[in-house]
């Protein structure tokens, strides 16, 4: 008996050591073979290439970048572009998705029909096909010479969409956005830690104070950051063969935004719909029994409950959608993935760059999931408040 237990333990340990050891050995062997192969081509391994100048252009960048910039900076540009795309596309997808999800559960036949058509149409075709479709449509707009500005300064041209913008420095915009984000986090934190214990009126006073303070500070920051000797608002105007002033959204960025926002919205709408269906009927019936208006029942009872129900699924969806932004490479939007693959082509430092790519995605995805999970923890219903 003793020997049986012993032998089983030995066998288990042996199996585990063989499995883990074999896996690690495979990885090490691959790295060694890779090194040998790359050295045979005259490439030295290591991360020193990050200091070298790239020598290639990046068409869209949020920070200063030129062909003299280093590889490290190019990769940073790529990461920022990916985050920028995600930070705009995901909220838009959420807004459209929630709207369509509400339409599909509204009880109005026409709204349900339109919502269902939207979801089925955009969920059942590949994202890359939709991206290329939107890109072709955007490139089909008239050339800047023939385009007429609409709605007081928006110009839809084949070279990009021009919208009015502010003549302020990028850094001040960044700081202003940061302040709003911090205010949002603070509101979330206060909403859990402080406001539930306060009198309703006091809490609402503090909430208003917080938001107006954040808004005021960010306006001041923008005002300080304005570019001297230019008007504050710059409106795009036709100038020769092109437009001048305002903000130009390139067709690549715009197509990525539209495709990811709509494709994501179709998925989010389904999640939101499931959330609304999962709310016990008694909740809105109780609201009606209390004589609350339909809008009040929706905005104060059903929507908050639905958001709390769908939050965990939604987090997975966001991580998945963020990964989907990599298809920007199909139309040469210079995101993280495209910068890395260009860098591999140009420098040949394959292993290091793939390691950076994987590490970058792991860090971004895990931190995104972590932040959203903290939000989920902050807003989720505790104890027995929700009986489903």
């Amino acid at each position: 008996m003793q020997s049986l237990i012993k032998s089983r333990r030995v066998r288990d340990a042996g199996l585990q050591a063989a499995f883990v050891g074999g896996f690690v050995a495979m990885l090490v062997a691959m790295v060694l073979v890779g090194r040998a192969n790359l050295e045979a081509q005259g490439l030295t391994s290591g991360f020193s290439f990050l200091e070298r100048a790239t020598g290639w252009r990046i068409s869209f960048s949020l920070i200063d970048y030129s062909t003299n910039s280093t590889y490290a900076r190019a990769i940073l540009v790529g990461i920022l572009n990916s985050l920028f795309l995600g930070a705009i596309a995901l909220p838009i997808a959420t807004v459209i998705g929630v709207a369509v999800g509400v339409m599909r559960t509204s009880g109005n036949g026409m709204a349900e029909l339109v919502g269902t058509t939207f979801v089925e149409l955009f969920r059942n075709a590949p994202l890359i096909l939709q991206l290329l479709f939107w890109y072709t449509l955007l490139l089909g707009f008239p050339s800047p010479r023939d385009a007429e500005p609409i709605l007081g300064g928006i110009a839809l041209t084949g070279r990009g969409i021009y919208i009015p913008g502010l003549n302020v420095t990028g850094a001040s915009v960044f700081v202003a956005v940061l302040i709003i984000v911090v205010a949002f986090a603070l509101a979330l934190w206060m909403g859990v830690k402080r406001w539930p214990d306060l009198h309703l009126r006091q809490a609402s006073k503090e909430r208003k104070l917080l938001w107006s303070l954040a808004l005021l500070i960010s306006i001041i920051v923008l005002w300080i950051g304005r570019i001297p000797e230019t008007p504050l608002v710059s409106i795009p105007e036709p100038a020769g063969l092109n437009y001048r002033g305002g903000i130009r959204i390139s067709p690549e960025l715009m197509a990525c935004l539209i495709a990811i926002a709509i494709y994501g919205a179709a998925y989010i709408a389904e999640i939101v719909r499931a959330g609304f269906i999962a709310i016990p009927k008694g909740q809105s019936e109780a609201g009606r029994a209390l004589g609350l208006s339909p809008w009040y029942i929706f905005s104060r009872i059903r929507l908050p409950l639905a958001i709390r129900i769908v939050m965990p699924t939604l987090i997975n969806q966001y991580v998945w959608l963020f990964k989907a932004t990599t298809i920007g490479i199909a139309i040469s939007f210079t995101d993280f993935f495209m910068v890395v693959s260009t860098a591999i082509n140009q420098s040949g430092q394959t292993l290091e760059l793939i390691a950076i790519l994987m590490g970058g995605f792991l860090i971004i995805n895990y931190s995104m999931a972590w932040v959203l999970n903290r939000v989920n923890d902050a807003i989720k219903l505790k104890g027995t408040q929700l009986r489903i």
Partner: protein
């Protein structure tokens, strides 16, 4: 309960209840109806009234800008569907796709839901597909994989990923819930890491990077490397779905099997996996849907799948204006497959939730 007044549900009252219940509802209905009608009319006008049909009318299409040019589809559909496949042999490509379509339809019939029949069905179908496409036997001219293209390449990648990924996912799921902690942890790490990477990065790594890190004999063809990479990615997602299915089984089932003295493989093969698959059927079908759609990503790393062949067909100077029509056509092909599969999944889910009551 029987005293409830009988509700009159005439067509008129139904319409009133669903579309015009309150003034606000009526307004929403009218607005949305107008919006829908506007879009529908625009589309109808573009796609039918102003459209140009028939073979080889690209000059007419070029002159006539505000209508669809279905003449493109009538003229170039062979390039879109078959890519570079030799012209005289294209019936083989078409037949091979039909074989796989029949396999897909047959696997939706409950008679085949069996651990023996389903793999056999898929293997036979896949072998027929491969022989038809590759040739070299039964007097068929050989056609190498490099010349495959269009719909059949998309189907080939999808079918091989499923055939390779399914067994792999079962292995992954079993290793992931192994009782030996280090095996379970390593597998969990691998699954989590691969799941948090974009599919495109995985495909790219397997296509471009792997040749550097593998010894010469293990490199193989680029197409097969991408398929292996995609299959591993698929398996990591599917393994989590199967694990979810296993967790939904009452633990008494496996304990009872243990108490009866069944060995590990008997427990897994006869008690755990059949129930796990049953529980995991709806998300599994969803996974197939997503896998089929994302097959089109291979176009980015340079394969001639249906999206790429469509772009090639609309890429020549005399048809370059028909790009939108091409995307609508290819999108429609995808839509038909994906929509019917997802409807089938929804039907199964409803049926299963009825059965489990």
């Amino acid at each position: 309960m029987t005293d409830l007044p009988i509700q009159h549900t005439s067509a008129f009252s139904n319409i009133k209840r669903h579309y015009f219940a309150t003034p606000l509802n009526s307004a929403i209905t009218v607005l949305l109806a107008a919006f829908t009608a506007w879009i529908l009319w625009g589309f109808f006008n573009w796609a039918f009234l102003e459209a140009i049909w028939g073979y080889g009318k690209n000059e007419e299409c070029r002159a006539h800008e505000h209508g669809a040019c279905w003449s493109f589809v009538a003229t170039r559909w062979r390039i879109v569907l078959f890519g570079l496949y030799p012209f005289e042999e294209q019936w083989r490509s078409a037949l091979a796709c039909i074989v796989m379509l029949i396999v897909a339809i047959l696997s939706c019939v409950p008679v085949f839901w069996n651990a023996k029949r389903l793999p056999v069905l898929w293997m036979v179908g896949f072998a027929t597909f491969y022989i038809l496409m590759r040739g070299g036997v039964f007097g068929l001219t050989p056609v190498v994989e490099r010349d495959w293209g269009g719909l059949s390449l998309t189907v080939f990648i999808f079918a091989s990923v499923c055939l390779l990924g399914m067994p792999l996912s079962i292995i992954f799921a079993l290793l992931r819930r192994s009782e030996l902690p280090w095996i379970a942890r390593t597998m969990a790490l691998v699954i989590d890491v691969i799941r948090s990477l974009p599919l495109l990065a995985i495909m790219f790594t397997f296509a471009i990077v792997l040749p550097f890190v593998l010894p010469g004999w293990a490199i193989g063809d680029k197409l097969y490397r991408v398929i292996v990479g995609y299959a591993i990615f698929f398996a990591c997602y599917q393994a989590e779905i199967i694990r979810g299915g296993i967790q939904a089984i009452p633990s008494g089932q496996e304990e009872a099997a243990k108490a009866l003295g069944m060995g590990y493989w008997h427990r897994i093969g006869y008690i755990v996996l059949p129930q796990a698959f049953r529980n995991a059927l709806p998300p599994t079908i969803n996974q197939f849907v997503i896998t089929f759609k994302e097959t089109s990503l291979v176009t980015i790393i340079g394969f001639f799948d249906i999206l790429a062949s469509g772009r090639a067909a609309a890429g020549t100077a005399d048809w370059s204006f028909a790009t939108i029509e091409m995307y609508v056509f290819v999108g429609l092909l995808f839509f038909v497959f994906v929509f019917s599969l997802s409807r089938y999944g929804a039907y199964l889910e409803r049926r299963m939730s009825l059965n489990s009551r």
